[in-house]
């Protein structure tokens, strides 16, 4: 049996992120005052310090900013996935906006920096995970 994975434990600041992914939406917080987007979710706008932050749905597109092929299980719950690709994905909606995710539905060796990717959503712990696959990849089996 596969060892259990760390569970998603949402807090008030990031619940929308995990719930959004469950509905098939990639979400980040956006400042209602100055329009700045932030990830990870802050309590106040990192640019203007306003408290008025609201979740915004993004396009789900992105580019690989950097990545690594994980070859060793740092947690037993992920041993069966090896090797897998962890990536920092640049989100086109704002310069410098990035998130950590996985790149799936491709051979790890085919991933490169600059690769265009799109979000694909999988259920987890009653919430969802926004993973990414190469744009124009074959549909997952």
């Amino acid at each position: 049996m596969t060892a259990s994975r760390p569970r998603i434990v949402p807090n008030l600041a990031n619940r929308f992120f995990w719930e959004g992914a469950e509905r098939g939406a990639l979400m980040v917080l956006r400042c209602e005052v100055c329009g700045f987007r932030a990830h990870p979710s802050p309590d106040r706008c990192p640019r203007c310090a306003a408290r008025a932050l609201a979740p915004e749905r993004l396009s789900g597109r992105g580019t690989v900013y950097s990545f690594t092929i994980v070859r060793r299980a740092f947690h037993p719950g992920f041993a069966d996935d090896l090797p897998y690709v962890l990536a920092l994905v640049s989100l086109p909606e704002q310069a410098g906006l990035r998130m950590v995710s996985r790149v799936i539905n491709t051979a790890p060796e085919a991933v490169c920096i600059g690769l265009e990717v799109e979000a694909v959503f999988v259920p987890a712990d009653g919430f969802g995970l926004a993973l990414f696959q190469p744009v124009q990849a074959e549909a997952p089996q």
């Binding site: 760390p6 434990v9 807090n11 990870p40 950097s66 947690h75 992920f78 410098g96 950590v100």
Partner: protein, 387 residues
């Protein structure tokens, strides 16, 4: 202005034994290192009126414990520094400020380690990831399968190659250099020579990061005594003064920061040179953090020994930094080979070298040294100058 407050010197250094396997308790190791540093300075515990220590989170003794065990008497200044900071050097940086400002006269700074899984095994537990912002954003990234610092370091290596080019051998030369010096250091735990073939063939943990890019976990402790330069002149050793010291954080984020490759290091370097009135050309010895080979390589660039992205070529197949090289680097073998004493050992070794007391590994007769510790949003450093 090059100096803030009273001129300060590092008057004593001390180590415990360093263990790869079963070891005395971390309390015992830390006490040994503190007593050794006090004795090395030619002082007694009653002379210590300040204590500063660094830890990640409740894993090693705090100031009050060492105060009681050593019977130092009342402390005029002290702090337990935790969580973020320039690893063990953070304690010494705080001690320098305390002595320079007059808050205390003679400060003890220490870092104790007990067989941490270290960077090669740092993974969060199987339990639910707690919400609320660890430095590595565990609550946000663990559900994707990202644990600890290794994947973040591997992504830096991949991005640096994309932006600047370079070869895996560039990192390899840092790993080989560590073993070359460690062979001359009886305290080092990894003393056997390493070939480039062995480095390149080492187990890949997270492409392109290999096992031999990671430091080696040990149990052990290191401590230093910091006092005024004036007082240090009456103590047994040649005076090694602090010509400049600095910290920097960049924007304070390990994973999502704007300067993903260098973090606070360039700003830290800028402050070190401005405050010391010195520059890379004035430096004869370097002790640069090597929790990962990436960190050492990028410190060389951030400090201006070469241009950004050019450290690989600058190393000259390792000749630049090895025994007999123009800039001897990490002369204990660093954390890669002496063992992961977590930051303070770089300062202790610089002091020993500037005194001319490093025995078999003595790197000529250097008068100036740069020490730079940790990386990314937790950068700190010192410029040392022998009087």
């Amino acid at each position: 202005m090059s100096r803030r407050g009273r001129p300060v010197a590092i008057a004593g250094i001390g180590y415990s034994g360093v263990f790869r396997g079963p070891s005395p308790s971390v309390e015992s190791l830390t006490t040994d290192a503190c007593l050794a540093a006090i004795a090395d300075a030619g002082l007694s515990a009653r002379d210590v009126d300040g204590i500063f220590e660094y830890q990640i989170g409740h894993e090693s003794p705090k100031c009050h414990y060492i105060q009681r065990v050593l019977r130092t008497g009342d402390l005029a200044a002290y702090a337990d520094i935790m969580g973020t900071g320039a690893s063990g050097l953070a304690a010494a940086l705080a001690a320098v400020d305390a002595v320079a400002s007059g808050a205390c006269e003679t400060a003890l700074a220490f870092r104790g380690m007990e067989q941490q899984a270290g960077n090669t095994g740092s993974a969060v537990g199987d339990a639910a990831i707690q919400a609320g912002g660890t430095p590595m954003h565990d609550e946000l990234v663990a559900p994707f399968g990202m644990f600890g610092i290794i994947p973040a370091m591997a992504m830096r290596m991949a991005r640096r190659k994309f932006e600047y080019g370079g070869r895996p051998e560039d990192y390899g030369h840092i790993a080989l250099n560590a073993r070359r010096w460690a062979a001359l250091n009886p305290r080092a735990v990894q003393r056997q020579a390493l070939t480039m073939e062995e480095y390149l063939g080492a187990k890949m943990l997270c492409d392109p990061l290999r096992l031999l890019d990671c430091d080696y976990p040990v149990s052990g402790a290191c401590a230093v005594i910091i006092t005024t330069a004036e007082r240090a002149r009456d103590l047994p050793h040649r005076v090694v003064g602090v010509a400049g010291h600095a910290q920097a954080t960049g924007d304070g984020d390990w994973i999502f920061g704007e300067d993903f490759l260098y973090g606070g290091a360039p700003r830290c370097a800028e402050r070190l040179w401005a405050r010391s009135g010195m520059g890379p050309a004035d430096i004869e010895l370097a002790q640069l953090y090597d929790g990962f080979t990436y960190m050492t390589l990028t410190w060389l660039e951030a400090l201006g020994f070469c241009k950004f992205g050019e450290a690989g070529a600058w190393l000259d197949e390792g000749r630049m930094i090895g025994p007999g090289g123009r800039l001897p680097l990490n002369t204990t073998g660093g954390q890669l080979a002496e063992g992961r004493l977590h930051g303070l050992s770089f300062l202790a070794e610089a002091v020993l070298q500037l005194r001319g007391a490093a025995q078999a590994r003595q790197a000529g007769d250097p008068r100036s040294a740069v020490v730079a510790v940790s990386s990314g949003p937790q950068c700190g450093g010192m410029i040392l100058l022998r009087e």
